[in-house]
Symmetry: C2
Subunit: 301 residues, 2 copies
Amino acid sequence: MNQFEINILGCGSALSFIKHSLSSQIINFCGKLYMIDCGEGSQFQFRTMKLKFQQLNHIFISHLHGDHCFGLLGLIYTLGLFKRTTDLCIYSHPEAKRLFQPLIRYFCKEISYQILFRSFDPNCSELIYEDQKLNIFTIPLKHRVPTVGFLFEEKFKKPCVNIIQEMCIQNNLIKNTHKFNDFNLSNKKITQNISKKTTNFSRKYAYCSDTMYHEKIIPLITNVDLLYHEATFKSEDLVRAKKTCHSSAKQAALIAKFANVKKLVIGHFSARYSDELSLLKEAQEIFPNTILANKFMVLPI
Amino acid sequence: MNQFEINILGCGSALSFIKHSLSSQIINFCGKLYMIDCGEGSQFQFRTMKLKFQQLNHIFISHLHGDHCFGLLGLIYTLGLFKRTTDLCIYSHPEAKRLFQPLIRYFCKEISYQILFRSFDPNCSELIYEDQKLNIFTIPLKHRVPTVGFLFEEKFKKPCVNIIQEMCIQNNLIKNTHKFNDFNLSNKKITQNISKKTTNFSRKYAYCSDTMYHEKIIPLITNVDLLYHEATFKSEDLVRAKKTCHSSAKQAALIAKFANVKKLVIGHFSARYSDELSLLKEAQEIFPNTILANKFMVLPI
């Protein structure tokens, strides 16, 4: 099975950085590392987790609030000190380029690699990255500034032809593989099953932070294997959650339930709570298969 | 005696951030906090050391390399979230304002305090801050980009008149204070002693990082109580030190010796050394009263 795991570098909201560090994750997919968000200090956690900078080529910024992107400059600077030569792609709201490029030019004059800013429209879901094994889509969210989540969707793990072959053998349509090439693929039952089976092979991870409760994301994240959804507040602080365009733990769980996801991990915790167990309890009452994010947590998918 | 202590938030060079954190110090003088440099993550150490943001009103940036100033944006953002209202002064090379202000305007739209950039000429020593008890001067250094150190000089702790009064009583020139006003201050011996005594009251701290070996700073830091001088490299790596405009531990110690400082603390350690004891040994052979900086170290003066 393809390697597909989530490394949580930080899962705090803007003022809970001491305990949780600021928002950042590394998706390790087949040995390629994809960063989502880059709060201040993300490069410290990255190195503490013994991840490899040379495997990191793509950074996705959900929105331009400081706690999600102020680590970019330091990371870019450090990659330069390591004499990186490979391009680094940064996917973000178009304003990121205008804001960060003058500082990159000034502070990172001597870097030996290129930084390519790729912008997306935060108002619609777009396929923003694709390779042979992976698609990455944006998920428009609802926050105080334009914000997107990201959907990582594995492409079929096995070539279709192998799956067809397996199913034909299981159904006694052919007895061994050498006759496979002669087999007629027009059999409807088989092709339907193939379609179902290959869909099941496609694992999915969705990252949704920061956002208020926003049902429009449900069709985009239905059936994902793992959903990271922000749960900044408890329901008792719902007024504050609405005012700041964040979600409660209960709302994160409702989204997980309605989208029929397999597992929910909640994060982006407010600094006002001394522990997050009450957030977990609140979410689990709606969606039992919920866990709390922790910095340095690794979640295989 | 006035409170005068150095809190080291970080003392690593650009790539040794995991062990030492990046350059930043807080000078606590009479309960007012003055920050020197603000590498990425400085606000994390600041809060870990239980320092109080409301006591911090002045930040001094030695030079515009990322490892000395990339924590500024995060700190400014956080102070806004804490609803600060007091002005924050940032003293730096003039380029800092041009570079950081567009990002501050974009990311910190809602902050309720003013940021005042004060620039200095890095080519000469200037008095850049003064209040009733403290002077702060720049110390021009020699690095790859325009760089200054900072000299914190306590003003006389006691009003001069009290010192004169004390000395007159000690010398039996007057027997009690009520006659003091009539005393003739033309006595030369007394005024010389007064001058000596008041000079001794004036404690001084000098911060010199980043810099190559630069003897021109010696007259500016002579007799300081504590000198923080960078010692990025061992002498065996002197070629690299020269190329990158940094100092060896031996060179830091030579500066301390020639300037007749009371104590030397070395920092800004390269990531290439697994421990810094060999740097300490090298410095102590020249200047025995040397110590190694450590993050979270507090040094009273």
